[in-house]
Symmetry: C2
Subunit: 902 residues, 2 copies
Amino acid sequence: MKNKWIYFFDEVAEVERYVGGTWDGVRALLGGKGANLAEMTRIGLPVPPGFIVTTEACNAYQNAGGQFPGDLWQQEQEAIKRLEAQTGKKFGDPAKPLLVSCRSGAEFSMPGMMDTVLNIGLNDEVAEGLAVLTGDERFAYDSYRRLIQMFGSVVMGIDDEPFEKVIAETRNEAGVKSDADLEADHWKAVTREFGKIFKAKAGLDFPQDPIEQIKLATEAVFKSWNGRRAIDYRNAAGIPHDLGTAVNIMTMVFGNMGDTSGTGVAFTRDPSTGENVIFGDYLTNAQGEDVVAGIRNTKKIDEMAEDFPDAYAQFVDICRKLENHYHDMQDMEFTIERKKLWILQTRDGKRTAMAATKIAVDMVEEGLITRERALMRVSPDQVDTLLHPQFDPGAKKVASAEGKLLAKGVNASPGAAVGMTALDADLAQKWGNSGKDVIMVRPFTKPDDVHGMLAARGILTSEGGATSHAAVVARQFGMPCIVGASNVAIDLEKRRLTANGIVVKEGDWISIDGGTGEAFVGQIPTIAPKLEEQTSLLTMLSWADEVRRLQVWANADYPEDAARARSFGAQGIGLCRTEHMFFQEERLPIVQRMILAGNEEEREKALNELLPFQRSDFEGLFEAMDGLPVIIRLIDPPLHEFMPNHREVLEQVIEKRVKGETEGLAELESLLTAIEGMHESNPMMGMRGVRLSIMMPGIVKMQVRAIFEAACNVARRGGVVKPEVMIPLAGHVNELKAIQPQLESTAKAVMEEKGVEIEYKFGTMIEIPRAAVTAGEIAGVAQFFSFGTNDLTQMTFGYSRDDAESRFLLEYVTRGILPQNPFQTIDQDGVGELMKMAVAGGRAARPDLEVGICGEHGGDPASIEFCHLIGQDYVSCSPFRVPIARLAAAQAALKEKGVTAK
Amino acid sequence: MKNKWIYFFDEVAEVERYVGGTWDGVRALLGGKGANLAEMTRIGLPVPPGFIVTTEACNAYQNAGGQFPGDLWQQEQEAIKRLEAQTGKKFGDPAKPLLVSCRSGAEFSMPGMMDTVLNIGLNDEVAEGLAVLTGDERFAYDSYRRLIQMFGSVVMGIDDEPFEKVIAETRNEAGVKSDADLEADHWKAVTREFGKIFKAKAGLDFPQDPIEQIKLATEAVFKSWNGRRAIDYRNAAGIPHDLGTAVNIMTMVFGNMGDTSGTGVAFTRDPSTGENVIFGDYLTNAQGEDVVAGIRNTKKIDEMAEDFPDAYAQFVDICRKLENHYHDMQDMEFTIERKKLWILQTRDGKRTAMAATKIAVDMVEEGLITRERALMRVSPDQVDTLLHPQFDPGAKKVASAEGKLLAKGVNASPGAAVGMTALDADLAQKWGNSGKDVIMVRPFTKPDDVHGMLAARGILTSEGGATSHAAVVARQFGMPCIVGASNVAIDLEKRRLTANGIVVKEGDWISIDGGTGEAFVGQIPTIAPKLEEQTSLLTMLSWADEVRRLQVWANADYPEDAARARSFGAQGIGLCRTEHMFFQEERLPIVQRMILAGNEEEREKALNELLPFQRSDFEGLFEAMDGLPVIIRLIDPPLHEFMPNHREVLEQVIEKRVKGETEGLAELESLLTAIEGMHESNPMMGMRGVRLSIMMPGIVKMQVRAIFEAACNVARRGGVVKPEVMIPLAGHVNELKAIQPQLESTAKAVMEEKGVEIEYKFGTMIEIPRAAVTAGEIAGVAQFFSFGTNDLTQMTFGYSRDDAESRFLLEYVTRGILPQNPFQTIDQDGVGELMKMAVAGGRAARPDLEVGICGEHGGDPASIEFCHLIGQDYVSCSPFRVPIARLAAAQAALKEKGVTAK
């Protein structure tokens, strides 16, 4: 069978037969641009005639080693003849010249591929003829010189620089500042010079034969598919290399044929707000690039109603038709040539998050799309931007251009923040409490920095990764945060930081974008949205709740967190980190006393002092989550995290010794000995979680007592409490067997004392690879699993969460060694495989096992989809990500059903 | 069908029919003791008549809630009647009294169960009769009072203390020091007092009815099966709780009926050396317990030839018969009653490692057992003790008794060592090189301590676990080592250590037992064996080599190591740690220069200086292993391990600052900054292995160049080299893809330069859980896998190798939370499951994938068996463990075939 390599715009029906009727098939064969041109032609829109060389032709060309395969070139020549017949014009005929544009167009829009070449068909003779035909010699030669330059640069790979130099010299000689002031003769001369440059650089005369021009342009498009940048882009975006690109050849129409002509670009709706009004710019007597280049002041699209009433009415009608056809907002290019409207291109319009949401919801109400489809139209990342202040994009560009970029680190928690630099937590708190906007900048943060972090607008650290302390706390509080900005050198003595050659003194203003990881010196203006005002988003989330199977819970340590999470739609607390309560100012000294206790009695005493604090925290949590489950994790971190900084104590001791100061030395020395006695080489794999509970059961017994006293108190006041006690870091079922019965006894004892029966569960985190592998055994004891994917990722990869990102992990991602940062998105092949084993093993042993996730991945859309697919019951994430997770969970369910955005 | 609960010693044929003919079945029903008594009876040995109440009866008793089930008691009464008929004696008949012993006897010998009760059948009347019959009133009443005391304590649970008090008072009143000096009347009086105590404590008169005595004793044996200590023991030893115990009732015979009687214990061969001579002690006119208690000086067994020539000849004959029957060395109890020899018990004799080996080999040569069975008779741990110096067991007991035990830590590397305490590596080296015996004692060791370790006889650390640096290096060099002796407080300023209340000054002698983890103050004498002198062991190892499928390779970093490994039978090098070469004195400064290099040029220069060192090391290795494969691992540790100690530099800086000293401060500060820049929170999960190679490829390129230059040089000199280059710590196949092709290019370039073609492989370690999970992908690139089970265990459990053991892991093992230390024996359920996945996945992708293990588990017998079962090709261990591994590999293969030690 003979291959058909070329289709005219009006042959879409034939294409559909060939590819089997699907729109995806049509796009794959004709490319996105060509498919839309053919589609518009079919529904009767005024598209200039033209044809498409298919992606199959491109692939055949590559496979033939960069030669036109079979009869491709013959088919293209025949197509040219047919185009001439269709238009009544002729290539190379000065009297009625046919001019065409040539553009690449792959299935997916791709930077790095060949741009447009306009005005193909011009040569010395035709240019003269065009001047006569249009009565505009300047236009003719301006067009011709553009062809030579575009052809030279795009097709022959000639540098733009010598061309630009000629124009600059011509301006100088003419004594004008703008190209617009150059006359026809200037352009004629420029055209001649361009011809010479072309010959010198390309080694041949500018091809005078329009057919030769088309052949070379077609080949250039094919070749651009395998250009360095295109390959890199496909690698990065995961686009296969065997798709190929199509070539679109379209008859030129001219918007610059006087005042009855014009050209513009328009969206069917406002791409910024989503409002249902046509939005765009146009110019009379101009060509498309003039609108884009901004050389002349454009007019608003609605002014067209006055300038071209008929064309405008037709255009409004076309907008409606296109939306009805594509069921999506369109971005179009059009030209009016002597009052006749031509549509040159349409595609789905890019839009802001706010517009995406509003358009999707509006289109459901307009009956254009289903709710399910609408839910697929907004990405969870877009929802994220709706919840956090953002920098004004223009202002950010300006700041970058002015060299104010300080650093690009790990985008740990999204949103924009502006504040004065504070280099320690105490100062951050002092300034923050006095009403100043503060960005706290530290090498890294520790739990006892939290007071400063909470008083700041944002956090910047030079060390740490996406699950470092700073990152986790920041996300928890929806606070913008950049971590691991390793080029930021912080000098705590001189109270300043240096980055990218800029010195920022403490107190100087900086601006951080937690969504991109960029930090700037100075103040960049921000835009701040509110959830309750975003009615379209709220509507969409309510639809999401109807379709998702996965529940969305939140990680919350304090009653206020829990209340916020619930207002965002959380259906439970998946993780309350009890130890965060230990770090509060009035409590930390008691905790330290408990740790340093010389005997059991002293320890018991300190624990008894902590009990009322914990109990009151838990009461608040239970009240906020009335009726919903609350998972409380028993103490997890190693005890040394609660102790003063080793280095500081060491420095004090050495200083005192060297100076011979004895006052207080002995106490400091004994503190130092205690801290050093607690030192671990690899604390992440050390004495924490259930290990600590087994070796020192007093703490967790106190915690369980506090949980159940609080639960009973709230229940007696009429609340419905569903406490679930979570034991962290189990790796062997015997660890649970060693501690859980003791804790259940405590729980029962409390309920008996209080005379209240509470529904409760005991369960564990799955965060040690061994726990995943032996999940069946563990589920024999645990009533629920919660994946701690931060630690599970850490152990499965052997990547220290504290160090890996800044040392090598980001570089791995940049170089494509890892497809993504596994601390942000679950590594499905490795970590995910263990999670699957755990769900399967756990449910085999205990069919009603409750399975969730409380690691940072619980708020990541791709990870949420994975959690859905492996059959988890819920995901738990920071309160600010609950809306994102609700949408992502819905999309996961819809995707599984086969629902797409189109 | 009616249950038969009781079998006489002569009914073994009936038992066999019932249990289906197997010896295991007989043992299970009759218990070990009973089965042997029945067996001896069958082969015609003189065993006093008696019967066995079966383990089934015991289980039925437990199931009946502690009641004699069905007609059990009736059957036992009938058995008593039959015993009376058989012996012609009668229970309770003073004229011809029948006396019996009652003993428990389960399938496996078990402490914590009921001991023997002798002399059952005595009462007031019978005692008097016995006095008349034997003409020895003292004997009669001594026997009777013993019955009351044993019965009281064992059957009724009465404390021994009041009984002992009566005897002590009687001695006082009689004015004698020893029980032996008490007369018949004394014992008569004691018997009366014992009766009173019995009544007071047990609440009933001592039962006068012998039948009642038997009933109570039988029940006491049954009950002891569920005693606390027996249950604990079964839990610890993994013995099922439903086996039950049998009860052995045997007619008493007396060795104390004058000079024609005697009693003794004997082994059929020397249990200490294995020599084929009867070995034992006996006494004339004595009862069994006298021999054991050591009250009188015993005679050597061969003196019996003179005292009792007939009985002795019969005994020698019986020894031969028993060995022929059991095919193993026996440990027997016998009594001669009025010249007649009775055998009261036989069992397999306990023996030393040396004896075990010699006996097994001799028995093969004597045609008693097959080679395969002989191989199952010696445990790999026993081979281990044959290769290391050991403390004289008696001397160790004395030292313990004298309170010289300092500490009990992790038994990191076996063997005994005695030396003067040196608290740092430099001093250890200085003293060691001057010919002194040194034990180096440190909190922990680092690679730059190795010079001191090598000069020491043994190592003791207060921190670290079984795979800590000290432990690994010590095992590598077969040097006794204890780590994690956490009660040892080392005071480096006062140059002393304190442990268990003992102060040991630097230079004081200590003795360490690396096999048990015990450290003592002072010098304990040692016994030092040599492999080449142990002909039985060498014979056995040569047999092992014939049956094992698993190859045994060795971990060796230096040519001398490799040569030693080969002499011990290694078939390849499974791990050469190239970085160990970096720590040598002349090289470390170059390495540090390389690390601190300010630019690529400086780094390149330092690397070029290292190249010749590495090349010459590799040449030596290849020469030593001529013809065998050598796996060389590229650099693994993080670079900061090569830098000076952070704390020391920090202290120097602070000191200089405080003192205001500026000289050298700037350099120290910049060194400090560099070291701190390299700091990682969890270095075990940090920038090391392939991560380091990807970020800084210069080092590994140099190493690969050195490997192939060395290989080519050796090959050109006629050697056969098989280098295998191992890339450590891969977790994602893309890591290998990123670095391996570069290294292969280097290899090819070298071979081209040298004009030599070498057979080589590139492979990776499987030590990251993710690598095991995605082994199929990884095997697409790697040609071999080597399990790094130290790291794999670390990551799978999330246990820091540096910290876990001393913090909680040993406690976990002690409390049974973990069945064993997973750093010593592979955790089959968790880590092992990942290993299985890796082998399956890897071989599916590459059927000829070479799979081995180079972690510390490669020398552990249980782990070696696991490696055999999952189909590995080899295990690699430290040179000193190669013989152990050869035997363990053979046993694994035999066990799989069903070969047992019996």
